[in-house]
Assembly symmetry: C5
């Protein structure tokens, strides 16, 4: 079995291989125009797969690079997206495995398995992030929380799309009785399928939790506003009787009751405190607060 | 019929059995790497099932442990997840039944039946919890309520996933005309399927109610804020006329009307009370409050 | 045709019939353990149906009782849930029909038809209730409204589950070419199917409207809070200028303008009213309120 | 071809026709008990269709009347719902067409086509209404807006149900290779199907927009409350410094600074204005408002 | 191969061609009555496709114009919607391609490919717009934001409908083994299908994000209201003690403590500041704010 690894899709090497193995022009175009969806297509004498390798960027967004694989009876051609270190590492892992695969379908399975394994740290990253966002939405909701919920929603939408397409690829590989995949590979392909399906379940669950985090944010803010309102109302309840009473005794009007008595001040203070206590009692009693 | 129960998946005993019964390496790997989904797979001369036994942790979260079962013509191999007492108790129940099952499919059904029965107390637990959360969201919504709604949402998402996969396993067992399952077991498998499907219906209903509890929380908080606002507005309505009137008569300005008359104070008090009553009447009349 | 009606599922009479007609032990168990889903199952020489009869409890919740029917070539066995008057009345209706059915499938259809008819008053009840809840949410939203919306949501979820299962039963009866159902019964079964499907449509619509009622509740409360806020702001707008002006003239400071003039009070009052009118005009003009 | 049009389903004329053409008793019952869903059923020697004609009531609600059609080899029987002018007008349109249809399937197509055309003005009505409701929710949200959003939701739910069932009828007509529909009618039936499907798409879109209008309502109200709160806070910010300062100088305490100086009033006014300006600057600076 | 391009569907030229190629009257009607959905239909000796060309109007709304294509063994007829410059440019592009297509299916593919390519700038436009709306909803939510979210929702609903129908057309072209499409065109048609499906995924994602933007708007406004409330409460907390104390000392009552002492003013100021600091400390300490 021959394995050709193309690190630059623009190189004429790819054209040469296309001619040698009768690769379809549309597939070559797919290798050169990036941002394909994960897919599997049948060519004249080979299968053509586009796999997606995901990469977490520094700003928290997600970039999905393409790894194209042609494989037929006795050959495998892999075409890397040049700028992606994750793809390079996957190719290297496939190469370094102690027992080198003898058949092209075995090599393809190995590459696919590494690609699917590479999703795990990314899923873990988002799982942790969502946990943190939930706590933040509950305990300290700021506009920044909102902005990050949104950003992750977008990243999960991309993640989900990649996983759905990858699942369809592995599903297709099981159903399509291709001559290029021996029967003894089926349990292994099914294993990959199960992995992807499980990951997809996780992503759906995370999307659900993220939507919930937005609701929690809103509820949490509403609750805080309610809290602040209560504080303001209690403050007003305490101050208003004092203000009304002192306003009353501040009037330049004759005959204010008890104003000239010796215990005037004491009586006035008792009046103020009494009103406030009564008000607070009433609010409590009728559960108005 | 021979029944081998492995309590430690790492033991070489499992390797010996794998050799004896030609178990597929991927299935042995599944026994040793935990956190599989519930599934059923066909091996060379046996069926391999991963069942999930759920366990409610002290912090209210849900842990799903694996119970792996291989069964063929004359043998059953069960592989326990070592740390889970629930699995041990299920294995013991299957063993203690008075009439020992004679056939491997009967034993498998018995184990599966016990696994599915073990979900019931967990469902009841969540049903009670959601009832309590609803009441709390209505009557006393606190951030803690919110946090627990969220935690249960997560637990129900796990529960749902286990039940969906378990249902698919039982569904597959009915359809797949496996040589290892005699026809007289079909009504029993269908019975298990119905149980799981009914449980799944319940979980979907609980998820729905939990989402509703979040909406109730928000509505309930909004209602309380509205209540507090009304209290504040009524307080202001009562105090403001008094303050305006007393402020007016507190001015160091000549010629305040009735300030020097004998009944000045009485007139002023009547003015204050009158304004307040008028205001409250207007608010009521035009339904502004 | 013989019709055996068992009013107490625990009675040995049921065991006797089970032996006579070779009823499956799981089906007898279903008769004795209640809370089954509506379903249809094929036995050795009969069909076994679980029908659900719904009953509106005094507290507004919904109870679904089981009515089990076995029917074969020349016999029908009905097993009542003992405590349910609705089931008794359905059995009686099926008996009193002038032209007694000659065949077991006709009798089964008649019972099923009565069961499905018994859902109608319950649907009407919920339709009225939801109408009332909508109005309440719009015009007078209280925590009690919220609590009742939630309670009805739960009841509708149960109702929906019963209807979905009953529809599946009737759908299965049409497809399954059972020897116990003559071809001339098909249009009648289809008619029952259409009834149930139409009821299910109604329930889905009601669920949708109930979810909407929750949104209306929240919007309605938000609107009222907005209203209350406006009232408070207008009150403040009216009072604040007066308070500021009277505070100003209340100061023990020399040289307050116009304080000693004869028309001082008039000027001050004009100042107060002028500021308030100006403020209200500005709020109106720039649509701040 | 004979066309019998029955304007009163209770008339014995219908019984006579039922006997002549062997119409199934359930179908006759459907003609007499109204409020059927749109459906198509096969009889012994004919097809039986229930079509729904919609009518916009004065209060904005939607009434769906039944138009029943039997058609076989050489006859068509139409049964009107007596009180519906829309049905009368459709029957008349079918009659007045210049080239009278020669075959029963042609006549049925013509009637069905007119029924489907009659949905268009109703769809347009709701489209306009939703446009208006959106604008209202944005610019002037009142409880009445909420109430009308809800009413239209209910009407659209009915509309959708009629369209779904009508689409199923036309879909069934295409698939079922009935002897009563000639092959050359197929493109015409497909055309009707496309019309209904397009209308259904529109209704789904309108339902979506209506749900959105509810969200807009809530957001719009929240925004207005925010606006009112800002106004109140700015008012307080302007008034409070003045009140505090004037309160301070209103005290009957010795040694108030600058109280007796000639420029006391000017200083005090400068103090009041200074505090207010500083406060407003701070609120602006730190974006607290 | 002959290519007839009709720029005015009302022209008699179309009638002439209809007669020559036996075009179905319903298809001619579709050409003349615009606002069809994208679809593909089989005629007697040709395929008839309606393609939708989208155009972004100046007011931000979306207009979808029709481009009708008939193609058979040796002919292609294209019917433009007269007022749409986008359609003219697509027809021109198809014409100018250096290597003129020799077969009618090749020409059809070329036109379809250009139509699908023309969707890309529109998708990009909406992607940018939604990004901007998200930021606006987070940072500066105004009623105008709300209105534009809504307008884009409507446009995306139209876009989605066009894409769904176009995907179905391309899907149908692959499945239907039409004599007018040679086998070597299949990979190309599949390529178009993949493009449309990918675009549809993007639109679904954008719809999801737009719904999220509405939630963000509401949460963002709620957060701002909370912020404003806090400011108001802090202002009140600062002012109220000063007002209560100064009110107290403003009373015309005998025996106010320390009122006549030399350091009265200092003591009073200390009292005011002390109360305020204590209040702010308490609010902070118990996290009431």
């Amino acid at each position: 079995m021959e394995w050709h690894n193309i690190t630059d899709p623009a190189s004429p090497e790819l054209d040469r291989l296309a001619e040698q193995y009768h690769l379809h022009p549309l597939h070559i175009e797919d290798c050169r125009h990036r941002n394909q969806s994960a897919k599997i297509e049948e060519g004249e004498a080979y299968l053509f797969a586009v796999l997606k390798v995901m990469r977490l960027m520094d700003d928290g967004s997600l970039h999905a690079a393409d790894l194209d694989v042609f494989f037929g009876q006795n050959f495998v051609i892999t075409v890397e997206e040049e700028t992606c270190p994750e793809i390079k590492s996957i190719i290297q892992q496939a190469r370094q495995t102690p027992s080198a695969p003898q058949r092209s379908d075995q090599l393809f399975y190995r590459i696919m398995d590494h690609v699917v394994d590479s999703y795990l740290p990314i899923l873990d990253h988002f799982d942790d992030l969502i946990d943190a966002l939930e706590d933040e939405a509950l305990e300290n909701p700021t506009p920044d929380t909102l902005s990050r919920i949104f950003q992750n929603k977008r990243a999960l939408a991309i993640l989900r799309r990649v996983l759905v397409n990858t699942r369809d690829v592995t599903g297709h590989l099981q159903r399509a009785e291709s001559p290029y995949i021996a029967r003894d590979m089926w349990p292994f392909l099914r294993d990959v399928y199960d992995h992807v399906a499980r990951n997809l379940d996780l992503v759906e669950m995370m999307r659900d939790l993220l939507s919930g985090a937005l609701d929690v944010y809103l509820s949490s803010v509403a609750n805080r506003t309610n809290q602040v309102m209560k504080v303001l109302t209690v403050l007003s309840t305490i101050a208003l009787p004092a203000l009304v009473v002192s306003g009353f005794y501040g009037m330049n009007v004759k005959g204010l009751p008890a104003a000239d008595s010796t215990y005037g001040v004491v009586l006035v203070i008792l009046l103020m405190v009494g009103c406030t206590v009564l008000l607070l009692y009433l609010l409590k009693r009728f559960r108005w607060l």
